[in-house]
Structures are given as structure tokens and as C-alpha cells.
Symmetry: D2
Subunit: 131 residues, 4 copies
């Protein structure tokens, strides 16, 4: 029942049934759900609020699926799925299309082709300005 | 290539390869990624900022996978996947565990069993206090 | 000791001394403080998460200075002041300059001059698109 | 017209008049305003998204009142003031009360009294867990 054996549609369905059974649909407007993603996102941020970047990195591999941090991530994910349900968006298709657009916006640097020059790796150049 | 044919692991892999190829890993600390979920979440919220709940509902079914709203949702999703990658969290397992916990916290109301009394459906009682 | 008798500088000073006395300055990087505004902002949002706009309006005049909602607002404000301290920004000047810019971006509608035509008040036209 | 010469009430008034003149009051529900604080907060965060804490610190003293970063801070501040207006909250009083509560929650460490022992300054102990 892990990520490799679970389709996005199965998880959308899980969230959908939970919401329907509780008759929460009237509360699940796109406007409320988008704000809920932010509210849960802030709870995840709280875990890292005063950590250095390095301290936050040390958490990798120590976060099992029922830890508080994984629970916050699950909460955010559940609202992403609920928003996709409410707006009838195919997440996999939306993600693939956006990644294609990102790939054009952030073309592969020379080094990924094996012949980068050191000057191409200046710190400034590698700071992503993602959107 | 839709949600029903795509595993969560495939999308994690897609994001992982994108990040690795651009050598963005050093920027992808859990702390930075959690804040990035918030930044993208706020961009989604902006689309609904001054809409009434009803106006936001009217968008359902009108948001195709390459529309600006679907792109914002894809951006949030990509950072959820990147955070799961950075923290080595199985999202499907984390979500299922959290939903089980939610099911205990928000037990099914009487009406879902087919014999609810009208008094059980008071608006106050049905306002979800989710976490 | 109310808003009419308190300068912005006094409140900046109050926050500054609190931070210095606890030697929190090293944690108060602009990056951490900006995220903290978001974290506290999300806690304020939580109070309104499942309310209708109308229900949220009914709270006006019922929120005294020590209620949970006022406390969340105070938390956000304290981080705004801390960020201004860390970045050495004069908030009053920054606000006045931004409001002047906003006044150009959102010119006064006809009706404010007393001779508006009904057509100028179409709902679409009055939806603010603020930035 | 700087922070030392400006009362909080003057800035509340400035925002109030701007909103009234544009008839935006109907949009300025506490629910919408709280979300707007988050939206503007996220735009401030974007400036620091991929910076190290140290890089964000280097911005201190370089942010004049009309720079993009000061404008984002002004935007957040304007929504804090608008929320206080909508909810009829005295911000100075709310802030002072909350700071008193924080002072109890985070008592002054020994070192601030001049006789701290080195062991009292362990990094872990000084990580603020603010709320």
C-alpha cells in the first residue's frame, strides 16, 4: 500500500468518500480548501521555524509515516487532493504539464551534459527562482 | 497518463529527477520546501481572494489541467512531493494513517447510517474543526 | 496606552527589547521572521476556516484585546515589527509610500465624487485586485 | 512622519479611509483579510525563499522604504491594520497584553541578570518555541 502501489486516483477517492460521508461538501469550496492548504502548510513550517537549514536536513530518514511531521505533510496532501476533487482537476496531468513548462523555464545547465565549465557553476547562477 | 494510471511514486520520481538534474538539492532543505508549499499555496489563494464562496464553487469543472489555477495546484503538489522526497516519507502510507486518525476524531454522524434525526444536523454540529 | 496614544516606534522598541533580553537575535533573520508572519497568519485564518464570510463579520465588536483572535493578530503584528527592526525599515514611511502607489493603481471611482452612474458599479468592476 | 512621530491610530485611519473611498468594505470580511495577510506574507517570503539565513541577514540596512521588500512588509501591515479596523481591535493594547503573556511563557534567562553559567546557554535551551 505504498507510493509505488497507490495511484493518485485511489487517494483522491479516499478523501472524497471521507468528505461525502461527513457531509462536509458545502464547506469544501475551492476558496476554503486553498486557505486550508495554507493553514496546514504553516503547521508543517512550524516544525522547522527556528532550525537552521542544516538541522532541518538532519531530519531526513528519521520521519516515519506516523510522526508529527509526516502527519502535517499528509494533511497538506489531503487538502491538495480535496481541491483537485472540488475543481475536477487531474493532478497527474496538471503536474506533468507544469513540469514541462518548468523544464523550458529552467533549462538543464551545461554540467548535466558532462562538459560544464567551472564558471557556469557560480552560486548565483544556480539559485533557483522557481514559480 | 491520468490520475487513475499514475502512481504517487512515479510523480515523486519525476520531481526528484528534475531537481537532481538542476543540482537544486542543496536548496531543497525540508525548511525551504515547507515554506515553498506556503508560497505556492498563497498563489492559489490569490485566485479566490475576493470571490464569494459561491463564486469559487462556480469554477468547478471549468479548470482544465493547463489553466492558471491547475498550475498553482501542480506547483503546490510538486513541493509536497519534493518534501516527501527530502524527508523520505511514503505519502500514501502517511495519508492513510492520518485519515484513520481523522475517522476516529470525526466519527460518522448518524445520518450516514440512514436514521438521522433532524436535530442531529444542526449547522453548528456539522462545522468541521479539522486538523 | 491605546492606538491613539502609541507610536509605531514605541511598539518596535517593546519587541526589540523582548528579543534582545532573550538573545533571540540570531534566530531573528529576515528569512525566519517572514516565515513566522505566515505561521501566525495561518493561526488567525484557522479561526475563520469554516465560517461563511457573514459569520466572520459577526465577530466585529466582539473581539476584545485579550481574546484568542486578538492574540493571533498581536502575534502577527509582533513579527511585522520584528521584521522591520531586523531590516531597519520605517513602517510608517513604507506604508504611506505604498498607499500612495495603491491610490494610483486603484483610482477613486466616480461614485466617490458624487455623480456615479449605476453602470460604473458593476460587481466585476468593484472586485479589488489588490497587490 | 516616521515611526516615532506616527501613532498606530493614524495608520489605521489611513487604511480605513482608503477602503471606504473605494467601497471595498464588503470584501473586507475578517475571513478575507486574514487570508490576505497570508497572501502578502507569502510574497515577502518569496524574497528569502532560496537565500541562506546569512544571505537574508545581509539585507539589513539595505532595504529603504520604497524597495520591493519594504513594500511587501507595508502590504502585510496594511492588512493587519484593516483586520484591526474590521474587528474593532486596539492593536497596541492587544500587543502589550500578548507580550506580557509571552514574558511569562519565556522567562528571562539567567544571563540577562548578569550571572549566567555557560551551561545555561546551551543552543537547545535558547531555541525559542514561540506561539
Amino acid at each position: 500500500m505504498s507510493d509505488s502501489q497507490t495511484s493518485v486516483a485511489e487517494l483522491k477517492q479516499l478523501v472524497q468518500e471521507f468528505v461525502e460521508a461527513r457531509r462536509w461538501r458545502e464547506f469544501h469550496t475551492p476558496k476554503n480548501l486553498a486557505t486550508s492548504i495554507l493553514i496546514e502548510g504553516a503547521e508543517l513550517c512550524e516544525h522547522f521555524q527556528w532550525l537552521t537549514p542544516e538541522q532541518s536536513l538532519e531530519l531526513a530518514g528519521q520521519v516515519d509515516a506516523s510522526s508529527p511531521i509526516a502527519e502535517e505533510l499528509a494533511d497538506i496532501f489531503s487538502y491538495v487532493l480535496a481541491t483537485a476533487n472540488a475543481l475536477e482537476v487531474d493532478l497527474s496531468e496538471a503536474l506533468r504539464r507544469k513540469m514541462l513548462k518548468n523544464a523550458i523555464k529552467y533549462p538543464l545547465p551545461d554540467w548535466s551534459l558532462g562538459w560544464s565549465s567551472p564558471s557556469a557553476r557560480s552560486p548565483a547562477a544556480s539559485v533557483p527562482k522557481q514559480a
